[in-house]
């Protein structure tokens, strides 16, 4: 752990994600460099870091989309390498790219992704109808996704990730490029989900979003956890600034220099995961 790592919150709660000495290398480049952290059941865990810091790679490992080079990670008590299917049954993923087929309708997309978990069609529709009105998408369910705006696509994308009623929901930049209205709907929806007991891992560049939603925030830099604590505690790391923002904390910890790190050879697998 680095000097800013002051993890101490939520220790009384059960861990739903346990990461120990996790390493992911692409050739000689360590995208994730020996990180250790836990996520408590029922919390919103903010995951911040500059571009190429290792956020998405960590999420890909935790969601079984990528294999670690070394270390251990468990989600909902299952090992992400040895018990992948069990891990997959307990998580939902809203990746940076929208996971929907443009030529299928919203319902057809939900039916397809639900069928991959062997959910009966009736149950898929039942669950979809629970979230569609909440995200103002009920009337659009029979329309092809390709005709939707970015915000509409993202709302269906979130419902897709919730079809299995996961214990942990991973979100990678869920409000990127969305208008303030949609952002507001999604953020308040995430709070509701969390109130219902869903653990949320939120990777974002939006400092305000991280501050507003997260119970705890991990700042990752150069593949290492640079800091991990509640926002209140992290603010103490910026002395001399009255009421510091999340951005102040972030820049204090990661520095102000622009990162131009390359993540591997073009054409290698590395490119896919950043």
């Amino acid at each position: 752990m680095d000097k800013y790592n002051v993890e101490n919150a939520g220790e009384d709660r059960e861990n739903i994600i346990e990461v120990k000495n996790l390493v992911k290398k692409f050739g000689r480049f360590a995208a994730v460099d020996d990180i250790t952290f836990n996520v408590k059941k029922g919390e919103i865990f903010g995951f911040l870091g500059p571009n190429g810091a290792g956020k998405s790679t960590t999420i890909r490992i935790l969601t079984t989309l990528s294999l670690p080079t070394a270390g251990d990670a468990k989600v909902a008590g299952y090992d992400v390498v040895r018990e992948q299917d069990q891990v997959r049954r307990h998580l939902g993923l809203v990746a940076e790219k929208v996971i929907l087929y443009n030529h299928l309708t919203a319902d057809e997309n939900l039916d397809f992704f639900g069928s991959l978990y062997h959910l009966p069609r009736k149950l898929i529709r039942q669950r979809a109808e629970k979230w569609l009105p909440r995200l103002h998408m009920m009337e659009w369910r029979d329309h092809q996704v390709g005709t939707f705006s970015t915000g509409m696509k993202q709302r269906i994308n979130i419902i897709r990730a919730l079809l299995t009623e996961p214990d942990v929901l991973f979100l990678d930049e869920p409000t990127l490029g969305l208008d303030p209205q949609t952002t507001n709907v999604i953020q308040s929806f995430l709070r509701e989900l969390n109130d219902q007991g869903v653990t949320i891992v939120l990777s974002t560049h939006d400092m305000g979003e991280a501050e507003a939603l997260s119970d705890r925030v991990a700042i990752i830099d150069h593949g290492k956890i640079a800091a991990l604590d509640t926002v209140v505690e992290l603010k103490k790391l910026v002395p001399g600034v009255e009421n510091p923002t999340m951005q102040d904390i972030f820049l204090k910890i990661t520095g102000e220099k622009i990162r131009d790190a390359v993540t591997g050879k073009v054409g290698s697998g590395a490119r896919r995961h950043f």
């Binding site: 969601t63 079984t64 049954r89 998580l91 030529h103 299928l104 992704f113």
Partner: protein
């Protein structure tokens, strides 16, 4: 096992539904085989499809025999619908015919010299000169062949009449007086008798054909009808269109999903990697089979190709041909993270395969080393087997070895592709 198939079919259904909604891809899907077949069908002419070829004739003789010969050539019609094979234009002499060819007004011609009818009447060998268009070897070869056959056939009729006349005289006057009598008689009857009916054998006399054509050759095919070049290429095109569609479709589909991010949605579900491959392969196979039958229907209804074997066996061969390419498609799709890279990689396989597999040229025409390379390609076996079934009416026993090779090729490439696919999508 159930979930392996169930998940695979769910992915296949989704792929086909998505495909059916994409108008541009649908149009390309239908247009591509039509385009390929039409292009090939019209580029490679069969003897039956030759019609209205412009040829020039310089009849410097103008006698009865030469006029009849020109009429025979003018009246020559195709087997299909009675359209004339040649569109004959008159020219004054050989130089004019040559000029006509140079100016591309005609595709060939023939010259009948001034003394043609007289030479025949005088029991001498007459001569006809065929002038060929060397700029178009294919049409030229066919034109030469047809002209030579027709002129030769006409000449044979004249020969039959002359021999018949000699034989009649021999019978009537005896061998001793033959020399003087036969010449007179032959001259008067030859031209009049130069019709097909003249070939009939007169009672109690040997057939003139026993002298003119002592050995008759009969060509017997395995199945009825004449073969033509298009029948040779049609199974090749069918196999090629299907395999190309499957190979590019499979690789493109996986790399497109990878690029768009939707593959992550499947990979993050508790679905086995083999199910993804099954799903993609089934969807592409359905598409490939539909395209294959579009090609077959065009070949049958537009270009007159007859399928002598079983359609079910054709479908089985196409299915197995598709299976033989699935492994290769998976390998390419896993190795290429972008559609463009996948397309470039596939081009490396497809381009040589196009020429080496015997789709357009018989393998026997190739150098030995190329033939050996050709037999490493699954497409070669698929085409070979399809030809046996479609053209020769072969049954399953006749294509057993090809079926085995296609299966082994598919099985081995899949065995290699599966673990690589697993590893590559999880980098």
């Amino acid at each position: 096992m159930f979930s392996l198939i169930f998940d695979g079919l769910a992915i296949a259904k989704k792929d086909l539904l998505e495909f059916s909604r994409d108008r541009l891809r649908l149009i390309t899907f239908v247009i591509m085989p039509i385009f390929m077949m039409s292009l090939t069908g019209f580029i490679f002419p069969s003897q039956n499809s030759l019609k209205n070829i412009n040829i020039g004739v310089a009849n410097e003789d103008g006698g009865e025999t030469s006029t009849k010969l020109v009429q025979v050539i003018e009246g020559l019609s195709t087997n299909n619908n009675g359209t004339n094979v040649f569109n004959v234009k008159d020219y004054p002499n050989i130089d004019a015919v040559k000029t006509g060819i140079q100016e591309q007004k005609i595709n060939g011609g023939f010259v009948i010299p001034a003394n043609f009818s007289a030479e025949i009447a005088a029991n001498k060998q007459a001569e006809v000169t065929i002038v060929e268009d060397q700029s178009n070897p294919q049409i030229s070869a066919l034109t030469n062949q047809i002209l030579a056959q027709v002129i030769g056939g006409y000449g044979k009729q004249i020969g039959i009449s002359k021999i018949q006349a000699i034989l009649v005289k021999t019978r009537d006057i005896g061998v001793d007086n033959l020399a003087t009598a036969s010449a007179k008689s032959a001259t008067s009857t030859a031209v009049k008798a130069a019709t097909p009916s003249a070939a009939a054998t007169l009672p109690n006399l040997p057939s003139p054909l026993a002298f003119l054509e002592p050995i008759k050759t009969t060509i017997v095919g395995i199945v009825g009808g004449q073969s033509n070049y298009f029948e040779f290429v049609a199974p090749g095109i069918m196999a090629m269109v299907v395999m190309t569609a499957v190979l590019t479709g499979l690789a493109g589909s996986v790399s497109r999903e990878s690029e768009q991010g939707t593959l992550d949605g499947i990979l993050v579900a508790p679905v086995r990697r083999l199910s993804i491959i099954i799903g993609k392969a089934v969807a592409q196979s359905v598409r490939g089979l539909i395209q294959g039958f579009i090609v077959l229907m065009l070949a049958v209804f537009l270009f007159g190709v007859t399928v002598h074997g079983s359609l079910l066996l054709v479908a089985l061969l196409l299915g197995l041909g598709i299976f033989s390419f699935v492994g290769l498609g998976i390998l390419v799709s896993a190795a290429a993270s972008e559609q463009e890279t996948a397309t470039q990689l596939l081009f490396m396989f497809q381009f040589p395969m196009l020429f080496l597999s015997g789709a357009f040229f018989p393998l026997q025409q190739m150098p030995r080393i190329m033939q050996q390379i050709a037999y490493l390609l699954p497409l070669t076996y698929a085409i070979q087997a399809l030809r046996k079934v479609i053209i020769l009416g072969g049954g399953i026993a006749d294509v057993r070895s090809e079926l085995i090779v296609l299966f082994i090729f598919g099985f081995v490439t899949l065995l290699i592709a599966l673990p690589l696919f697993n590893r590559l999508v999880k980098r």
